[in-house]
Point group: C2
């Protein structure tokens, strides 16, 4: 098989990390950069990671999709935009698309694949849920702190499509977990993001360690998690899917995992601390609204959604 | 009856307001001032109020209790300190006390009268729960925005003592509501403070209007209020008192009252916004702990206590 051609649009910490791992594995990867363009042009891209450092000395980079499209269309588009900036996707990605281009959303949000499918009609869309602790460092540099697995699902839950997306990562350092039900996987991811991104913001920009070590905060996170699992299961049932979230198992797994993470600040917290827009709608309001539509009691989800909305715009 | 001699210690907005209203009614009132001393010495004390403006051109003021004690001891001591500064009370008030001096705590806190009784042994202690919207303005100026009634109780629930404290305010513009059970009154006051001071802080320094107009925030405030009422009733029962809080009535009254208040920022919120210590222990942690001791489920109280503790020190 010829080297797969990949473009990363929204090459922040998450997009950048996974793009670099594909480059490391032999894909022909192009990065659409803004903040980091000058630094990457001068010194390449660097990844500092407990799974192995990596330097791409002369990565293919561009400031516009047109520049990147000079090399032809791509087979895969990794989208690492923030949900709040999704409407820019057609302009950022359009020139890179062919009839065969497939899109992997490395983004938060319950309905993000549906939105991308509407913005890029004709593309097969996949959801990539990154369980990873990763931050941007100096320009041109990505700091990988923890974890790194990518849960992958297909927007239509097509097993053949999913197998091809999984195959893209073969030989890379990324552990891929195929998700037969994308909806289930999205709710499970929210089961971490809503409690921890939410509580860390509401506690004033705290770390996961603060939440885990303060009984009332940990309990509230746990309550939110149970509500998300219940809402997810109601949603799966409403959509005729047989898959179900093991709520208790999920809680135990996430609480154990997070307890061992140290003082990690999720992306939303960094947005909050630095005064950037938070993913309020995609991560909090849409799921809370869906829970309400489904008749699932979700007071903690609603509280976090309302507080994060109120706190949006920074401390 | 000779004019009652009154000293106000901790003459912030609340202490200053009630002291000025006693002066207006003919009491001989002395104010212990720090920030406002120079301005009051030069231009007196001014009150801007919908119940009637007031100017005290030459108030008796001092920077130390010794200065104020040059006029002899007082009959009544109004204490308007923040709970976080209570340990300074003996030094601030000692020289003003005689064997007959009675103390009215215009302060927040479930156990504040017990603490004052321990700090000033031999004094009769009263609790004054101010339902008032009042802020400090320019130095020497107090801005009275809303309400103004004072709920008064005696630390030992002695009816005769209470009647004398009520009589102090006769002829003043202050509406006095005698409280036969101080414990009940304290819990009722917390039933407003915990939800609204707490939620306004947690929502990033919001006003009561934001809480009331955001369904999930109002619902959470309501939940906290119900928890406080339940904890209060358990406490009353545990202490052998017959008095009970009408929880539903209290909620309805407070929600209606607060809905009509406009965008008010409680004192704790101003502390938060300006980076001053908040009354976390007195207003949040002690009541949550008491609820827990009594076996009353109070997850919302606990959450607010933990979050306000986390946010203490300012935004």
């Amino acid at each position: 098989m010829a080297a797969q051609r990949v473009a990363v649009v929204g090459a922040g910490a998450v997009g950048g990390y996974y793009g670099m791992r594909l480059a490391e594995a032999g894909c022909e990867v192009r990065f659409l950069l803004r903040r980091d363009y000058e630094a990457a042009a001068a010194g390449g891209l660097r990844l500092s990671s407990h799974l192995g450092d990596l330097q791409l000395a002369s990565p293919t980079i561009g400031r516009t999709a047109e520049e990147l499209a000079a090399h032809g269309p791509v087979d895969w588009l990794l989208v690492g935009l923030k949900a709040t900036g999704l409407e820019a996707l057609p302009a950022l990605a359009g020139p890179l698309l062919s009839a065969e281009t497939r899109v992997i959303a490395l983004m938060n949000g319950l309905t993000i694949e549906r939105e991308i499918a509407a913005l890029l009609p004709g593309c097969e869309v996949f959801g990539g849920m990154a369980f990873i602790g990763v931050h941007r460092g100096e320009p041109g540099e990505i700091l990988h702190l923890e974890f790194g697995a990518l849960n992958l699902g297909h927007h239509g839950d097509d097993a053949g499509q999913l197998a091809e997306a999984v195959a893209l990562w073969e030989g890379s350092k990324v552990e891929i977990r195929p998700e037969p039900s994308l909806l289930k996987a999205r709710w499970e991811k929210l089961g971490w993001n809503i409690p921890f991104n939410g509580m860390c913001v509401v506690a004033g920009g705290a770390s996961t360690e603060t939440i885990m070590s303060t009984p009332a905060l940990r309990e509230t996170a746990h309550r939110a998690m149970r509500e998300v699992a219940a809402a997810g299961n109601a949603d799966l049932a409403a959509q005729g899917q047989a898959a179900r979230i093991d709520g208790e198992g999920l809680c135990e797994r996430y609480l154990t995992m997070t307890g061992g993470m140290g003082p990690y600040r999720p992306s939303t917290v960094l947005d909050f601390i630095e005064g950037r827009a938070m993913e309020v709608e995609a991560m909090f309001e849409a799921p809370a609204r869906r829970a309400s539509e489904l008749g699932v009691a979700a007071p903690t989800m609603e509280l976090l959604a309302a507080l994060v909305r109120e706190l949006d715009g920074g401390r």
